[in-house]
């Protein structure tokens, strides 16, 4: 046993010696290697990244077909992007900025912050007062004032002195403390005046390349493989990164690698100015389409006025309107007309006004009751005019009451709840739903079906049509609603426009068939033909 233990001990000692000697060898080797590398090569064993090739053909120009405040920058990829050393990971777009711009923006933002506190709640007023002291003594604000003084502006509209700012804001705070709500609206004006300082910035931009007053700042990044970038901002001068129009800008592109210290800068391009365009050439196909449609409408309106018989195929839903009004008269029950949730500017609501006019005229003739609950106050005002005119046309102006068309509420489901209540209480003989409908379509139509009313619906909201199909007696699908107004009215203007629509559809059909044939048989011609219809915003 002892000999066995001794053997074990000896083998362990042997193993220990072996491990120690191995560690010693490796340590000395690394030490030697360290010494060698100190003298010959850099410490990192990873090979260093070579500076990538710079971008070429750099161009900066005003973005076309826009409202201004946008510059497009284009370039040819670096030779190391996807090829060569393949070291490029992105491109940083750099724009020359005068230092004072930062001060103006920072001072304006902090002033805006103070005023936001003033406007918010009374409890934040102490916070606003405290911040105001900080702003007025802060470097950005002082820089901004000295910038203004440097230009020796005679224009007093700026009215931007520390005394003025201090007094205006402290007066507002004092008014707030006395709870004078009228003055709450005065508070946000100061940043707007401060914005006027931005008007002076172009003069600073124009001083390039004076490196003592500005530097290149990053305004965006494009990943490798991308060859263009749009440097744009909103129109509002208070938006972040606002780009004023008609100012000289200078750009360069920095090619970036995985090592943030290794980048290659390009040549500088500029000056370039942004500006808005009056005419958006990308919308020319829309203009042509509207012109074609307008010409067709004018031709057919003239033909209709000359008494030409313009055939319109019967629409079951519209034919049923007269029948439904007659039914209501016989039953002595009212007619409910719902204009939907659209605004007075929606095409479907406008079409619905025409149908309402026709229904109201018949109602006045038959001396039936009409009820038009409205969702939108403007729609209500227009509908009142329409119904009033219809009653006058029918020779019964005395029968018109303002209550026929009435406002309910501007909340979707509250409106639905109220209309459902009306349906169940008044049990109208006929419900007409014409206009723009959303999630309430099935709720309304289902309640009307439960109440046993004849229901006629029409909308251009495609997702709602199936609900009207299942719950209504007659449904006008999409464009049938617009046709209905012409069909009912039989007025030359409406009939002419309906005919024009049909012919415009024929042109579209022909274009679609020609386009699809060309693109499948002669792809080159097809692509050209297709491009005639392309809309570029």
């Amino acid at each position: 046993m002892r000999s066995y233990l001794e053997k074990m001990k000896a083998s362990r000692v042997l193993l220990l010696v072996l491990v120690c000697s191995l560690l010693l060898v490796s340590f000395s080797t690394s030490l030697l290697a360290q010494t060698d590398s100190d003298t010959d090569t850099p410490a990192d064993s990873i090979p260093a990244i070579a500076a990538p090739a710079q971008v070429t053909d750099l161009k900066a120009f005003d973005t076309d077909n826009d409202h201004g405040h946008s510059i497009t920058i284009e370039w040819t990829l670096s030779a190391d992007d996807g090829a060569g050393a393949k070291s490029v990971i992105s491109y940083e777009i750099m724009r020359w900025e005068p230092f004072v711009r930062d001060s103006v923006m920072a001072a304006r933002d902090s002033l805006g912050w103070v005023q936001a506190r003033i406007n918010k709640f009374e409890k934040e007023i102490p916070l606003a007062e405290e911040s105001l002291d900080e702003v007025l003594t802060g470097q950005p604000f002082l820089d901004s004032l000295s910038f203004l003084v440097a230009y020796d502006e005679k224009d007093t509209s700026f009215v931007l002195t520390s005394e003025y700012v201090d007094k205006t804001l402290r007066d507002t705070i004092a008014a707030m403390k006395r709870d004078l709500p009228v003055l709450k609206v005065r508070a946000p004006l100061l940043p707007a005046r401060f914005d006027s300082l931005l008007i002076l910035l172009p003069k600073e931009y124009g001083k390039y390349p004076d490196a003592t007053i500005g530097r290149f700042d990053s305004v965006g990044t494009a990943v490798s493989g991308v060859t263009s970038h749009e440097n744009s901002s909103a129109v509002d001068s208070r938006s972040p990164g606002f780009i004023p129009d008609f100012i000289d800008y200078y750009y360069r592109i920095d090619v970036q690698t995985s090592d943030p210290n290794i980048r290659t800068t390009s040549e500088i391009v500029g000056p370039v100015q942004s500006s808005g365009q009056w005419f958006n050439s990308g919308l020319v196909p829309v203009l042509i389409a509207i012109l074609v449609f307008t010409i067709l409408t004018m031709i057919f309106v003239q033909l209709a006025k000359k008494g030409m018989d313009l055939y319109v195929r019967p629409l079951a839903g519209i034919e049923a309107v007269d029948e439904a009004i007659g039914r209501a008269t016989e039953m002595g029950r009212p007619i409910l007309y719902v204009l939907g949730l659209g605004s007075a500017a929606d095409i479907a609501t406008i079409a619905s006004f025409t149908i309402l006019g026709r229904v109201a005229k018949k109602v006045a003739e038959y001396q039936t009751e009409l009820n038009v609950p409205c969702y939108d106050p403007i729609v209500m005002a227009v509908a009142q005019e329409v119904v009033k005119s219809a009653f006058i046309d029918a020779g019964r102006p005395e029968a018109y009451k303002d209550d026929i068309v009435h406002f309910i509420t501007n909340s979707q489901f509250a409106y639905v709840g109220a209309v459902n209540g009306i349906i169940m209480r008044d049990l109208p003989a006929t419900n007409v739903y014409m206009g723009k409908f959303f999630a309430e379509s099935l709720i309304l139509a289902e309640t009307g079906a439960v109440a046993g009313s004849i229901q006629i619906a029409g909308t251009d909201e495609i997702p709602q049509i199936p609900f009207f199909f299942v719950a209504c007696d007659y449904t006008l699908i999409g464009e049938e609603l617009f046709a209905a107004s012409a069909y009912l009215g039989r007025e030359p203007e409406l009939l002419g426009s309906l005919k024009a629509q049909d012919y415009a559809k024929a042109v579209l059909l022909a274009s679609a068939i020609i386009g699809i044939l060309l693109i499948n048989i002669f792809p080159e011609y097809g692509e050209t033909f297709k491009s005639w219809f392309e809309v570029i915003d």
Partner: protein
């Protein structure tokens, strides 16, 4: 949960049940919920208009002007024009001058229509037409992707379906003969789309219903019966009392309705001649 919070939850649960009760018939609980909802939303709408539209878009814009100069010395004085148009709307309240209110309405509709027409033409005509002109993958019909339903067949179906649907909306010609057959195919295509849309929306509505049931179960029912206090450390008997009080309202109404039904059953039906 605090008892005051539970009070509001119970009120919400009552309103939910009141609205559901419309499925039986119009009743006082539904009427209460309906009028409350309409009243609250109308009041809310006024406040939203005041703070969301009038204050930022009108009062703040003209605030640096003076009233005795009709705010024409304000930095953004042109906001005075919509202000005047808005005031003109009030002419509706006076019979003799109500015609004045037509001016702002005409302006509103004119501007909106002018904005809407190019947008509609671009989105619903030009872009649709442009997107339709795509090469059809003929290899689905013959070649390596033979009978691949996902590509060429659906492309062709979309094209033919669109053309046929457009034919259906042609109002200048009666739907007879070959033209009628194409129009019929068009309406079939439309119905296929409507069916899919209907199914999709019904599923969404059912998920809304499930959400309401979950609210009644978890937020209301479970909080009312959490005697162990695991989820509701402030639990006391008042929670349960409130829960049952809501059901009692509906129970009383059900008994009232049942009595009414029995009374109507006991009454002898009137002879037809008197009805006439």
């Amino acid at each position: 949960m605090e008892f005051t919070t539970f009070l509001w939850t119970t009120f919400a649960a009552f309103l939910t049940l009141a609205v559901f009760s419309f499925l039986y018939k119009d009743n006082p609980m539904y009427k209460f919920a309906e009028h409350l909802f309409v009243g609250v939303s109308a009041g809310y709408f006024v406040i939203i208009l005041w703070h969301g539209a009038l204050v930022p878009n009108l009062f703040k814009k003209l605030a640096d002007g003076d009233w005795y100069l009709l705010w024409l010395n304000a930095s953004e004085w042109w906001y005075f024009v919509p202000f005047i148009l808005g005031v003109m709307m009030f002419a509706r309240f006076f019979k003799k001058s109500s015609w004045i209110s037509r001016w702002p309405l005409a302006m509103y509709i004119g501007i909106s229509t002018g904005l809407a027409i190019p947008l509609e033409m671009a989105n619903r005509v030009n872009r649709q037409l442009w997107a339709m002109m795509e090469p059809i993958n003929w290899s689905s019909f013959w070649g390596e992707r033979y009978l691949d339903i996902g590509s060429g067949y659906s492309e062709l179906l979309i094209f033919v379906g669109t053309i046929a649907a457009l034919v259906y909306f042609f109002f200048s010609k009666a739907h007879t003969g070959a033209f009628g057959a194409v129009a019929k195919f068009g309406i079939w295509t439309l119905m296929l789309g409507f069916g899919a849309s209907f199914g999709f929306t019904v599923m969404a509505r059912i998920s809304l219903f499930i959400n309401r049931i979950q609210f009644l179960d978890i937020n209301w029912g479970q909080a009312a019966f959490d005697a162990s206090g695991t989820a509701n450390e402030n639990y006391h008997a008042g929670f349960q009392a409130l829960f049952w009080a809501v059901w009692l309202i509906f129970l009383v109404y059900a008994v009232f309705e049942f009595k009414k039904y029995l009374n109507s059953k006991d009454k002898p039906s009137q002879p037809e001649s008197t009805q006439a």
